[in-house]
Symmetry: C2
Subunit: 232 residues, 2 copies
């Protein structure tokens, strides 16, 4: 599974989302052409992206929606439970905690952390907000796979470091700043060389959609056809 | 400006975000190599993406951060005011209304709409929440460029149609469902042919980051190097 572009993983997530919708609409079969149209890419791209992970369809017959969905769930690792803590429980953190759909894939919130004394001790979604200083102790007794960062931008780097210090494997950063994994010190390691295997960071740019939308409102003729070469 | 892939626009948004951070750090010069490393793509990709829109650097000299930033702001249409309404003012809609950074690019919230009687008449960010049924009247007197959808998934299609009926040009859909522009009827038009020029829709998948993160925690060796062919 070497050499799979990041964009292909993003597109798999899109295909999965489309398959979920088709299943809700009781559509049982689809094709690379149909998926491509719904995802805004070419059918060639769909087939290429899926081919990284195996053969899911029958030539000329397309795909069975529940089977392809199940396979993508497996490829993406969504068929297991992910224990998640949220760091930063202001409006954004609370919106994340309450967003519908996370529990569909067994993303399970096991802890909420903040540094604001007004929030600590309050209950959000049945969990008591704890001080960020206690995160490391918390992860001694509770498995935590991911941390969602929803802190102000100037606190994001320190909060990411707190998650790394607590041995959390992955960070989803919702703060309006880019965190690079290499800026996070790996506990017990000082080696930041090419051999570095540290925390995985994915940045969610809450404003990216607004900026793309602005561009396409001004340039609607560019919105239509994906090009064959680079259709993501 | 024909044939610009959607992925290139997404990458421009990423480059802009990196430039903003460099500017905050008082870094005045950058290069395609530096931008590429920070964005997780190749330097070739950076140069190709920027070349769609002109010549911004000097060969061998790299880019001046504030100049490249200003040019990307112009290309993306962020140097003007965008009047925005939010449809759906629950936790997610309120988080969007209060998210830091939107006002940096003159995204200006001019109206908030919902159908929940408990919310109508309440104040959020200095705006009174109004009933969605009044949106069309509202846009008779107030220019609205974009609508942000933050409604439950089963309400998203109807709410998108309400925005289209009110002649709003673009929709940013935060609901956990994919809205396709062609499923929205264009007011005063019945033509859904290839010539269709309707509402622009961008879907924001709040859960996409979680799914990518799950994949990369399971496959950390795939996270490192972007491939030359398809590095988004």
């Amino acid at each position: 599974m070497a050499e799979i572009p990041t964009a292909a993983i993003s597109r798999l997530v899109t295909y999965l989302r489309i398959l979920e919708q088709l299943e809700l609409q009781d559509v049982s079969r689809t094709s690379s052409t149909d998926l491509a149209e719904r995802a805004g890419v070419t059918a060639f791209q769909v087939r290429k992206d899926l081919a990284y992970f195996g053969r899911f369809g029958t030539r000329g017959m397309g795909y069975t929606v529940p089977i392809l969905k199940r396979e993508l769930v497996r490829v993406l690792g969504l068929n297991r439970t992910w224990n998640v803590v949220i760091v930063g429980v202001g409006r954004l953190g609370q919106a994340i905690a309450n967003y519908p759909g996370a529990s569909d894939y067994q993303f399970q919130y096991v802890g909420l952390f903040d540094v604001n004394p007004d929030l600590i001790g309050t209950q959000v979604r049945g969990l008591r907000v704890q001080h960020l200083d206690t995160l490391r102790d918390f992860t001694q007794t509770q498995t935590v796979d991911m941390g969602f960062l929803a802190v102000p931008p100037d606190r994001a780097q320190d909060a990411a470091q707190s998650l790394a210090d607590a041995s959390v494997k992955g960070i989803l950063n919702f703060a309006p700043t880019v965190i690079q994994p290499r800026t996070i010190e790996r506990p017990g390691h000082t080696d930041l060389s090419d051999e570095w295997r540290g925390v995985i960071v994915e940045n969610v740019d809450f404003l990216a959609g607004m900026k793309r939308l602005a561009f396409y409102i001004l340039n609607p003729h560019l919105k239509d056809a994906p090009t064959p070469e680079d259709p993501a």
